[in-house]
Amino acid sequence: MRGGPVRRGRRRGLLATVVGTVLLAVMLFPVYWMVNASLQPTGTTLRAGWFPSHPDFSGYATALRDQGPNLVTSLVVALGSVAFSLGLAAPASYALARFSLRGTSLVLFGVLITQMVPGIVVANALYSAYNDLGLLNSRLGLVLADSTAGVPFAVIILHSFMRGIPREIIEAARMDGAGRLRTFRAVVLPLSRNALITAALFTFLFTWSDFLFGLTLTTTEAVRPLTLGLYEYLGAHTTQWNAVMATAVLAAVPAAVLLVVAQRFLTADATSGALR
C-alpha cells in the first residue's frame, strides 16, 4: 500500500488541472475568437474558420492605418492619467494613513461614495463645464475626467498599504531631522514601490479602457481614444471584420501585459508580507 494515497492524490490533482483547463478554455474562448477573427483575410462575410490556418495580417495593416492616431491618443491620455492620479493619491494616502488629521474618515468615506456615482452623471455635468473652459476635445480634459477612476482607486490601494508601514521607520527618519516631505520622498515612497506599481498599472488600464468620457467629451476626430475609435469603426465598417477585430486586439494588449506584469508584483507582495 506504500504510496497509494499519494498516488491517488496526485491523480486527483491532475484531473483538477484538466477540468480547470477546460473551464478556462470556455471562459477565454471569446478572447481566442477575437484573435482568430483578426487574422482572417479581408472580406465582407465573417465566416471565419475555427483556426487561422493561413494567418493574414491585412486586418492589422488597415487597423494601424485607420486607428494609429487614436492609439497614440489613448497612450498619452493613459500615461497622463497615471502621473496625475498617483501625484494626487500618493501624498494624500500617506497623510490619511499617518498624520491623524481631523476629517480623515470623512475623506475616506467620500472616496468610497465616489464608487456609486454613475459616470454618465459626471459626464453630463462636465460637458457644459468643459464647453465653457475649452476642455472639450482636449487630451488634458480626458486626463482629468478619466482620473475619476484612478484617483479613488489609488487612494484605496495606497492608503491600506501605507497603514502597514511600521511607525518606527517613519519616526526614525523624523528623528534624523528629515522633514515631512523628505520622509515621504525618501522613505515612504520607496517602501511603497509595489503598491505604487499596482495602482499605476490599474489606473493605466482604467483610463485606457474608458469609453464613456471619450464618447461624451469629444465631438470631433481630433482627439479620440482607441476605444471610441473601435466603437465608431464597428458602426462604419461591419464589412471589414478583420480590421475591427484587429483594433480590438490592439486595444486588449495592455490588459494582457498587466496580467503578466501584475502577477510578478502580486507574488512579490505576498512574499514580502510573509517575511515581515
Binding site: 488541472t17 471562459m27 452623471v121 455635468a125 475626467a145 461624451t216
Partner: protein, 303 residues
C-alpha cells in the same frame, strides 16, 4: 533662522504642511465628483438644452423634467429592464464566480496560473469584449449560432441581438461573462481566509461536503459575499458600454436601461436637463438598493 519672525512662521508651516498632502486630492474629488452631483441636481430643474450653450439661458422649470421622464411609458420599461439586467447579471456572476472560487480553492498543478489567466475578461476594455460578443452573437454568421446549428440544437439560429426578448438575455450574458472573474477573485480570497482546521474538525465530526459548506464556508464567507453583491449591484446599475456596443439599446428600446436612457437624453437629444433628472433617479435607485441590501445583510448576520 534668519530673524525673530522665523519661529512662528515655522510653526505655521508645521501646522499647514500635513494638509498640503491631502488638499490637492480633496480638491480634485470635490471638482470631479462633488461639483457634477450638485450641478446635475441644478440642471435637472432647468430647461437645459443645446440652446443653453449659445444663449446661456437655462430657465427654471421646477419638477417638469422629472414629471416628463417619470410619466413616459419608456421610463417604467427602462426601470424594469434595469432591474432585470442587474438582478440577472449579479445572480449569474455570483453563482458562477462562487463555483469557480470553490473549484480553485483546492491546490492542484497549474492552479495558480489558471486562476490568474481567468482574470483576463475582467481586465479587457468593455468595448473590446462587447465588440467581440456582438460579432459572436450575430444571427447569421456568429459562432454561437453556427455552433448551435452544427449541433442541430436549433434549426435556424436564435436572433440574439435582433429579438426583443433575446437581446436583454444577450447583454445580461455578456455582462455575466465580464463579471465572473471579479467575483471569483474576491470570493477566492474570502475562502482562503477560512482556517483549514475548521474543515478538519468538521470532517472528524463526520460532516460531509454539503454540511461543511452550510455550516462553515457560507457563514464565514458572508463578508466577502456582501462585498461582491453590493459592488455588483452598484457597478451593474451604471453599465453603459456593453449595452451601447452590443445592442445600442435596441431593438425597439428593448435593452434601454436608466443609464443608457440618461445618455440618450443628454447626448443624442441634447436634453441635458432631462438627462440629468434621469441620472439622479439612477443615483437614488443605487443608494436605496445599497442601503436595503446592507440592512438585510446586517440583519442576517445577527440572526
Amino acid at each position: 533662522m534668519t530673524g525673530p519672525s522665523a519661529a512662528p512662521r515655522t510653526r505655521l508651516r508645521e501646522l499647514l504642511a500635513p494638509w498640503l498632502f491631502v488638499v490637492p486630492a480633496a480638491v480634485y474629488l470635490l471638482l470631479f465628483f462633488g461639483y457634477p452631483i450638485v450641478k446635475n441636481l441644478g440642471m435637472s430643474f432647468q430647461q437645459y438644452t443645446t440652446a443653453t450653450f449659445y444663449t446661456g439661458a437655462a430657465p427654471f422649470v421646477g419638477l417638469r423634467n422629472y414629471a416628463e421622464i417619470l410619466s413616459s411609458g419608456l421610463f417604467s420599461r427602462a426601470l424594469l429592464t434595469t432591474v432585470l439586467f442587474t438582478a440577472g447579471s449579479v445572480a449569474g456572476q455570483f453563482v458562477l464566480g462562487l463555483a469557480l472560487a470553490l473549484f480553485f480553492r483546492r491546490s492542484f498543478p497549474l492552479g495558480g496560473l489558471l486562476r490568474s489567466l481567468l482574470l483576463l475578461p475582467w481586465l479587457l476594455p468593455l468595448v473590446v469584449s462587447a465588440t467581440t460578443w456582438k460579432w459572436m452573437l450575430d444571427a447569421d454568421d456568429g459562432v454561437v449560432n453556427n455552433a448551435l446549428r452544427a449541433l442541430h440544437l436549433v434549426p435556424s439560429g436564435i436572433p440574439w441581438l435582433t429579438g426583443t426578448s433575446q437581446a436583454l438575455v444577450s447583454v445580461t450574458l455578456v455582462n455575466i461573462w465580464v463579471g465572473i472573474p471579479f467575483n471569483t477573485a474576491i470570493l477566492y480570497s474570502g475562502l482562503r481566509n477560512i482556517p483549514a482546521q475548521l474543515y478538519e474538525a468538521a470532517e472528524l465530526d463526520g460532516a460531509g461536503p454539503v454540511a461543511s459548506f452550510r455550516h462553515i464556508t457560507w457563514p464565514l464567507l458572508r463578508p466577502a459575499v456582501s462585498v461582491v453583491l453590493v459592488l455588483g449591484v452598484v457597478y451593474t446599475l451604471k453599465v453603459l458600454d456593453i449595452i451601447l456596443v452590443v445592442t445600442g439599446g435596441g431593438p425597439a428600446d428593448a435593452t434601454q436601461t436608466l443609464a443608457t436612457r440618461s445618455y440618450e437624453l443628454s447626448f443624442q437629444r441634447f436634453e441635458f436637463g432631462r438627462g440629468a433628472a434621469m441620472g439622479n433617479v439612477l443615483i437614488v435607485l443605487s443608494l436605496v438598493l445599497a442601503l436595503v441590501f446592507l440592512r438585510a445583510d446586517r440583519r442576517a448576520a445577527h440572526a
